[in-house]
Symmetry: C2
Subunit: 235 residues, 2 copies
């Protein structure tokens, strides 16, 4: 089964979430059922770039071509990789190679292969995205993945998003919970200003979190790749 692939790159580090810092390859799939106002990967779904339909063997070959022997971990990102049935085969093929697999999805579309993934990050989108969370679907996701290595991550841009994050954390108290500061200048190439803005905003989110009793068990993280490389792609 073929999967639309936008880019294969690495090895680099995972810049965010539950396995932050992990040395990994990235496979970025095309297409998303959302269109978040601040999407930092809108090229995966807005038509500016074309994806390439690849079967699993081709993806594995590409991973080995780009990463050589210098990896044992693959992150599948998007877009929303959960759009694609074919990823189940890809996860299995990675496992056969001895590689671990991580994925990130907003939790809007379930696929049974999700159970095979080593680290699943579910990132429901807060109000600032202009998207609506389907809680029936999200409940089902969390239920299915109970006992798996799963985490929730909410990107926060403003107070309203923080309130949404609290609600999500309260709804699924036993799931490891990550807050991530949003990047509100995904277009700029002025890295110096971007860096100081991101750190200021990260500090703001830390303060909100330290003040909030309901966030006592949260983890608050930046996007390390953005601190390092700004909005550059494929690093």
């Amino acid at each position: 089964m073929k999967v639309p692939v936008m880019e294969v790159f690495g090895p680099t580090i995972q810049g965010e979430g539950m396995v932050i810092g992990q040395k990994t390859m990235f496979v970025r799939t095309g297409g998303c059922d959302y269109s978040c106002s601040w999407c930092d990967s809108s090229f995966t779904w807005d038509g500016t770039l074309r994806s390439q339909l690849m079967n699993v063997n081709e993806i594995i070959r590409k991973l080995e071509e780009v990463g050589g022997e210098r990896f044992s971990h693959v992150t599948i990102s998007g877009g929303n990789p959960a759009l694609h049935k074919g990823i189940g085969e890809l996860v299995e093929a990675c496992h056969q190679k001895g590689w671990k697999v991580a994925i990130e999805t907003q939790g809007s579309i379930w696929q049974n292969w999700m159970m095979l993934v080593d680290d699943v990050t579910i990132s429901p989108k807060p109000p600032s995205s202009n998207m609506e969370t389907d809680f029936e679907k999200l409940d089902y996701y969390i239920e299915q993945l109970t006992g798996h290595n799963v985490s929730l991550k909410v990107v926060v841009f403003n107070d309203q998003d923080f309130t949404y994050a609290k609600m999500i954390h309260k709804r699924y108290p036993s799931v490891p919970f990550f807050l991530q500061i949003g990047n509100n200048s995904v277009e700029t190439d002025d890295n110096e200003t971007l860096l100081s803005n991101l750190l200021n905003r990260y500090e703001w989110l830390i303060e909100k979190t330290t003040e909030s009793v309901s966030m006592n068990n949260a983890r608050v993280l930046p996007q390390l790749h953005t601190l390092l490389w700004g909005n550059k792609r494929g690093v």
Copy 2:
């Protein structure tokens, strides 16, 4: 049993290691059996500041006084907290309050209470520290903590340190392994220069790691608190 305490502060975030980003209180104990050349907490052992001998009730009261209800996680750092027998009681008292406990130690002194700690980071010191690793003690540490939530973390300043890190990772392949970029200007208060230096050096460490097949399963992290607040203490 009393414990020499240098400072109690928070809630803030854990800036490094296996629970990076975690909202937590800090209890910093006095004293260290090492004297690393680049120690960023040398005030805990070089005599510039005095510690206060506190019993467990006093420490718990202090934590509640400083942190109110705004925490459920306590990090015990130093110095080397493993110098102090009394920390066992402290860990138990924290658990009774429903708080989780994390600790960091270089792995030179074993204490049985180490088994009670929720997240143990062992950070053997590389050559640039001018310290010598006692591998018999370190082997014993890792053996005792098998099955616990334990990780290894090596701070890297130069190529020689990186070689040491590879050796450690190879010796204990099943223990989650973290690389951390060293801060070689622990005295400066020029935060802007510090930040750009740290990010450059972090990028160097990422490159070393991505090039190295033996580091395929490593995680590479900066110290978030230093990126945010420079060398300021108690944040």
